[in-house]
């Protein structure tokens, strides 16, 4: 690729709809060509009660109870919470602590799956959505257990619940999928555009948005074409192609690209009259909400140099990672790096006994060569090259923040250098020639600042 020695995006005649700065990592989307395939049931499913942001769900089944595919097995605990549904026919083996991808053991429902379990969802009550009021619609969305499938796992009904003081004019549908390697959203857009349109209509009704813009990066022309073929005649939904650049799929970046509006620091998209939803979320919502089903499966990209059969799979939620990897074919090697999500923001799994949850968009497996190459890199002191400043999409100064983090000046990072605006996209660390783990330092700093703020808010505990 031709590299200009100057930031091309500064010059208006070069720019198309996008945001400033950012990076262009190798895409490595080798799985994009094949169709989504279905994965069989594992013999045992593990369903953590906290797969979403908010309060964990409350189990409504007991050990020994039989469940059918699609049956709710845990209910939402309050507004910021969602229910969990059985992914397969079987019997509840136990409700106990199980390892999670983040490390700590979490309360989970374990289901032993019957060998004869069918793919048919047998617990469903089809609904007439047009008869529902917006409030009932939001309740129906919560009942599906839907969360943001792009990786955030924020309850979808909560995201679409807009306080009365905000008027939403536009629903932005995020089909950028800017993370390298991942192709699950790409394929959903290409294979299920009709379901996506149903989902978009539901979200527009729930939020009161008059129009919807689907943002898709220009490396997925087939997806854009498939969606354009299904657009409604009234013109309320449009497909907008944006340049391929990381992190184009970040909410604030996409709003800037499509509407030219910047969401102010510390504010949400609804402050500028916008709600953003992921295409995967809306496609599946369009499938399961009219059918009255719960969220029992999702599309997961399983790829990476160490995978023999890379591809996108419909994976039942709760399937152990080990089963997925065996299905996709991982060679028997002495070491590997398993990443949940994309390579820029995904998290390395500490155990293969953890399940695929609602938040897992990809499973990326690197082999010995990659691990070795990353480990061989030497960390230097910051040479103040300014690459991170030219990469940060939020206009922060990661160079200065990194130096402050090394000196543990966390309060200064928060007060003068806007660390709270960092959404941990990892661009600074990606470009850093000194190999300083900047974004990791920032995560630590943000956590410490959150704890300090919480301590200040609740002083003098007895």
């Amino acid at each position: 690729m031709l590299r200009f020695p100057f930031p091309v995006s500064r010059f208006p005649f070069f720019t198309r709809k996008t945001f400033s700065r950012g990076v262009r990592p190798d895409e490595n989307k080798s799985t994009a060509g094949s169709p989504i395939r279905r994965m069989p049931f594992a013999s045992r499913m593990i369903l953590p009660l906290a797969q979403h942001i908010g309060k964990p769900a409350v189990p409504v089944v007991r050990a020994g109870e039989e469940v059918v595919r699609g049956q709710p097995i845990a209910r939402a605990d309050g507004f910021l919470s969602v229910p969990i549904h059985a992914p397969a026919d079987g019997v509840v083996e136990s409700i106990e602590l199980k390892p999670s991808a983040r490390g700590p053991w979490v309360e989970s429902i374990v289901i032993r799956v019957y060998e004869a379990s069918t793919q048919e969802v047998r617990w469903a009550e089809p609904r007439d959505l047009d008869a529902l009021s917006p409030k009932e619609l939001l309740q129906a969305i919560q009942d599906t257990g839907m969360v943001g499938l792009g990786g955030a796992a924020f309850p979808s009904h909560a995201k679409m619940s807009v306080p009365g003081k905000f008027a939403i004019h536009t629903l932005i549908v995020n089909g950028c999928e800017c993370e390298p390697y991942l192709t699950c959203d790409h394929k959903l857009m290409r294979e299920h555009p009709a379901d996506l349109m149903v989902g978009i209509r539901i979200a527009m009704r729930a939020t009161g948005a008059g129009r919807a813009l689907i943002g898709v990066e220009d490396n997925k022309p087939d997806a854009a074409a498939a969606m354009r073929a299904h657009l409604p005649a009234d013109g309320a939904i449009r497909v907008e192609v944006v340049p391929t650049k990381y992190p184009q799929g970040a909410e604030k970046m996409l709003i800037k690209a499509l509407l030219g509006v910047e969401v102010p620091p510390g504010k949400l998209p609804m402050h500028v009259g916008v709600v953003v939803n992921n295409v995967g979320t809306l496609t599946q919502l369009g499938q399961i909400l009219p059918a009255g089903q719960g969220l029992t499966e999702r599309v997961v990209t399983v790829t990476g140099p160490a995978i023999r059969k890379p591809g996108d799979y419909w994976v039942p939620i709760g399937t152990p990672m080990r089963t997925v990897l065996e299905w996709a074919g991982v060679p028997d090697v002495s070491e590997r790096e398993v990443i949940l999500g994309g390579p820029m923001m995904g998290q390395a799994a500490a155990s293969l006994d953890v399940p695929v949850t609602k938040a897992v968009s990809g499973i990326l497996v690197f082999d010995h060569d990659h691990i070795e190459a990353m480990a061989r890199r030497k960390t230097y002191p910051c040479i103040k090259c300014g690459e991170c400043v030219n990469a940060c999409p939020m206009g922060l100064n990661p160079c200065m923040l990194g130096m402050l983090a090394a000196r543990r000046e966390y309060d200064l990072m928060g007060s003068d250098y806007h660390i709270a605006e960092c959404f941990e996209c990892g661009c600074c660390t990606y470009v850093c020639p000194a190999h300083i783990p900047l974004v990791q330092q920032f995560k630590v700093a943000k956590t410490i600042l959150r704890e300090r703020a919480a301590r200040r808010a609740a002083p003098a505990a007895p």
């Binding site: 390395a348 230097y380 100064n397 200065m400 974004v439």
Partner: protein
């Protein structure tokens, strides 16, 4: 499977651009080599010996400082090599080798190691070394030898091999014996400043004027700089700001009083302006990181250079202008923080 596979755990991001400090530094070294080669073509054995000696002094000092501080060798990051090459290019070709060793030692020990090594220095180490010997050996550093003298590949300039701690001999007689046309023993800048003579455009480009080892090849320096900019090892905005602002200021002065102030091409091509702008001021460690700060820093250096040349007591000003810019870099960075996304003028909602 007897033993479960080891799972690698490292923080995100799990991919990298592939840039590294040593690769950037190596590219700078590669970009400096053509300039060094051209200098050797012009000045022969003396230039070669000076470049090798100064670079060796820098590397040895770096290693010595590593040993004293108990850290691992940092020679492999190439930064000391860059300092050595750059420093040699700013010295006169007739500079005694032992003084070159002093310059190299001062550059690394005082300019870099005292601050904590790579990434921690405030001033460009090569310029610290040059400033040190300018103060210590004022005569030697303003003694110039002609380029392209016939016997340059057979013999050293007499001053080159001066014994350590000795005063170098006067080379005036030797220079006359070389019979090089048009050589005056003073740099174009000095001739303009003290005799009000403006050198011809062609003389400045061809490199026959008296100058430091790497100063005469402005065109070559620019080409090498372009290579580095294309490799993203150099911030093109800094030389652009320096050269642009220096030209603009020079043009204004020239238009105001053409008889007294030289035309802009003279300001651009005489002395070390291009070498300094492309290779010295762009030292990443000692230049600002913010986009606005980079422009401010470049303009500051360009304007200061012309001001020193026109109104200071020295004929050349680029060195002190860059050192001043280095000193102001933390302040410039502080006051030119980038605009946070969504804050201030960008907000329309």
């Amino acid at each position: 499977m007897s033993q479960p596979p080891r799972l690698e755990l490292r923080p995100a991001p799990h991919v990298a651009k592939g840039a590294s400090v040593e690769r950037i530094m190596l590219h700078v070294v590669l970009a400096l080599l053509p300039i060094c080669a051209f200098a050797v073509w012009q000045y022969g054995l003396s230039a070669l010996a000076l470049i090798l000696t100064v670079t060796a002094a820098c590397l040895l000092t770096e290693r010595l400082c590593n040993r004293l501080s108990g850290s691992a060798s940092t020679l492999s990051d190439w930064s000391a090599t860059i300092t050595g090459l750059l420093l040699a290019l700013t010295l006169p070709p007739s500079f005694p080798l032992w003084m070159g060793v002093v310059a190299g030692f001062a550059a690394i020990a005082l300019g870099k190691a005292l601050f904590g090594g790579i990434g921690c220095n405030v001033f460009n180490p090569a310029l610290v070394g040059r400033a040190f010997v300018q103060a210590a050996f004022p005569v030697a550093i303003t003694t110039w030898a002609p380029a392209y003298f016939p016997s340059r590949f057979a013999e050293f300039i007499p001053t080159t091999l001066t014994a350590p701690l000795m005063t170098p001999p006067d080379i005036g007689v030797w220079v006359k014996g070389q019979a090089v046309d048009g050589f005056t023993g003073a740099t174009p800048l000095a001739r303009w400043k003290f005799e009000n003579q403006v050198a011809e455009f062609g003389d400045l480009l061809s490199g026959v004027a008296a100058a430091s080892v790497g100063e005469t090849s402005a065109l070559l320096v620019l080409v090498c700089g372009l290579y580095l900019a294309a490799r993203r090892c150099l911030d093109w905005r800094i030389p652009a700001a320096i050269l642009g602002s220096a030209m603009l200021v020079a043009l204004l002065f020239h238009l105001a009083e053409p008889g007294r102030y030289p035309p802009p091409y003279f300001v651009l091509l005489s002395g070390g302006l291009v070498l300094g702008a492309v290779f010295m001021a762009t030292d990443m460690v000692t230049s600002p990181v913010t986009p606005r700060g980079v422009w401010l820093y470049g303009i500051l250096i360009g304007v200061t250079t012309v001001m020193i040349r026109y109104f200071g007591s020295l004929p050349e000003g680029i060195m002190y202008a860059i050192l001043l810019g280095n000193a102001l870099t933390p302040l410039i960075d502080q006051v030119t923080q980038p605009r946070v996304f969504g804050a201030g003028k960008g907000r329309k909602a």
